[in-house]
């Protein structure tokens, strides 16, 4: 499904064509960038969750209740 639907605004003609080699290469670059960004976001989310759990555990060890800990993030 590597086609482009193209409408010529001067003539109104609609054509369907295969993507060029350059366009296919750019799509590959875009897909790799998206995958990298997604992986980076997942790693960050996991690190954030781990840090939050660690902070809550330490606060709990200091004697704060669950409600008091929750109030800190409001």
């Amino acid at each position: 499904m590597t086609t482009a639907i193209e409408v010529n605004c001067a003539t109104g003609e609609v054509t369907e064509r295969q993507l060029t080699t350059e366009e296919l290469a750019q799509r590959e670059v875009d897909a790799q960038a998206a995958a990298a960004a997604e992986h980076e976001a997942e790693v960050k989310a996991a690190a954030d969750a781990e840090a939050k759990a660690s902070a809550q555990s330490k606060l709990s060890a200091l004697g704060l209740t669950a409600d008091e800990i929750a109030a800190l993030s409001k």
Binding site: M1, A4, I5, E6, N8, C9, T11
Partner: protein
Amino acid sequence: MPNTFTKIAAVTVGAGGAATMDFTSIPATFTDLCVKLSGRSARATQQADNLFITFNSTTTGYTTRVLNGNGSSATSANYASRYASNAVDAAGSTASTFSSHEIYIPNYTSANYKSFSADSVSETNATAAQSDLVAGLWSNTAAITSISLLPEVSTWVQYSTATLYGIRNS
């Protein structure tokens, strides 16, 4: 501010899907351009795909500032890419739903760099849904004569449609 919208052209994706929807040979007879897009990406599993916009087949010189909300959190980010939204409905969204996007491009024939703005919302029967506002700059002085609209990861599904309007005082 220009106040009259004129439909220039529209395109609808057929049964085979398409990687991009392109407007070419855009006339220089308007002040601004506006694209209204209803789209859905074939991206597997995920609820959303990103929308990329390309002017004059040039893939460089783009920077964007994004504000995004998903129903539970709000974020902002900068991108040095053709990013115009992350709210394109994908396979993880409710079947047969389509996201809505509007992209506005003022002064598209000027010899200055081109700004654009985009606002988008996804559609799905779930707690989390995407909406975003994008402020973009294409650091290029050429008049815009073509626009390509593409999902970053996958392809447009059938019935995705885009309409290009020209705006001027008349």
